[in-house]
């Protein structure tokens, strides 16, 4: 019960091939819910305490987007993989305090918002969107 999202090595991350969702689910004691959609699939992991991560997977198995919701901030380094560096390097809005984080670069679109006990957000890689799939599906 002590392993949670973000603490699991091998978590399928943005820009990588999903291969370990089932293992993660087992370790997390999370419920895995899969939905097939036109041109992509959603793998949703829900763990006790109301933490949810959704992975948006292309037909070739590439994670092109992630969405999160939970009482604390998730481990974005693990969810974003190599895109975490881009997130850290992206310029922050000057003089914004205590609000959301919005990053819009060529390779990464990320929003993070909410307040203590209710954090949520999404990230996707525009270059990895499957043919015919809109970014709006990542939510």
């Amino acid at each position: 019960m002590f392993l949670l999202l973000g603490s699991v090595p091998g978590w399928a991350v943005l820009g990588e091939y999903e291969s370990s969702v089932a293992t993660d689910q087992q370790r997390m004691h999370a419920q895995l819910h899969q939905v097939a959609r036109q041109g992509y699939s959603i793998k949703q992991l829900s763990s006790p305490g109301g933490r949810t991560v959704r992975e948006y997977v292309s037909p070739k198995g590439m994670v092109f987007g992630v969405a999160w919701q939970g009482p604390t901030m998730p481990d974005l380094q693990q969810l974003l993989g190599s895109y975490f560096v881009q997130m850290k390097q992206a310029s922050r809005s000057r003089r914004q305090r205590g609000g959301p984080l919005v990053i819009r670069t060529k390779d990464l679109i990320l929003v993070s918002g909410g307040h203590m006990r209710s954090f949520h957000g999404t990230a996707y890689a525009p270059n990895l969107l499957p043919d015919g799939v809109s970014a709006e599906v990542v939510r």
Partner: protein, 414 residues
Amino acid sequence: MRFPEGWYFRFTLIALTALATLALAGCGGSSSSPNPNPTPTKVDNTQPIQVNLGPANDYPNGVFTTVTICVPGTSTCQAIPDVLVDTGSEGLRLLSSQVTLNLPAVTDNSSNGLQECVGFSDGSYVWGGVVSADIKMAGEKGSSVPIQLIDSSNTYPVPNACTSSGGTNENTVAALGANGILGIGVFQQDCGSYCANNAAPGTYYLCPNGVCSATAVPVNFQLQNPVWTFPQDNNGVLISLPSVPDTGAPTVSGSLIFGIGTQSDNALGSAQIYTTDASGNFQTTYNNIAYNQSFIDSGSNALYFLDSTTLGIPDCPNYPGWYCPASPTSYTVTNSGLNGTSGSVTLNVANAEALFLANGGQNAAFNNLAGDSGTDISSDYFDFGMPFFYGRDVFVGIENMTGPGNVVGPYYGY
């Protein structure tokens, strides 16, 4: 104060005070026991607050107050000015560099001090030890309340799961823009049952032999919203700030009033109550689209909602993420509580860059400062930040506490 692994008891002021008294006695301190059954009495419940640019002189719409902390059960106290008043978080967090008192650590049975990481939605984080203090504001006092000392001196390395939100470590006045954060939101604790039942990475830690590992923490030892630890006026707060001119103002003074409907100065009056879901959110509708995770947050220094494409106004050229309409614009939205209350709110948006430059850059209070929440792809909320508070009485009702008309928190009222 110590917390036992795997052993759970109900939070009471008496239990916490007794534990703190023991801990102090062990350290050679002395303290007197407070009345175990405090009778609610009329006390001064009005705490002055002020909007200004803060101690770093760079915090638009920062609302600050002075919080007095004391070694539990003693009159050894220190007043900490410039603490941010935040309805979007729970618990008192102070920069350790600003605290001279020697406060007893909250420890486990092996005397390991409890540490905490908090990641915020903008990616910034704080890290530091949990200690016990009496908290005094106006005539109110919370006894032996767990608070956080944000670590300014790197006592323990920040765990990876804490830095993984990607932003800055806000452990200096320059980074935090304040001497601390007074979290007085809709919850009793900062994490609640999630952290009581899970050793959740990025939350609470123990660091035996200098190696930090995530730990579960009973709710009584988590950071507490100070308001509900008061003997009276403890079911929520009222924040009352006057209107400001549309061009902004350098400072604005107002009141943080403790309790809702407990004294003559905190009656609901004409305010409507909007109860929230279990996560502290209500619904906002704009253009026939419902956004289900809205909240009212004095710690957000602007109205953060939607994006420039949806609103049809430009972002600021030199301040990305802020809105810069050619002329002031307003948007009408409808808020709905879970209790069925519904009402419209007008949000005014002016040119953020012009606001920042007006009056030689000395203005701090803006009722029309707004920015992007990235709603174009996913976000499901309006963040009613500080501009929402001007010229309005805003009530914040704490979970499980009963307010006027037997309403039970969490709720907002305005």
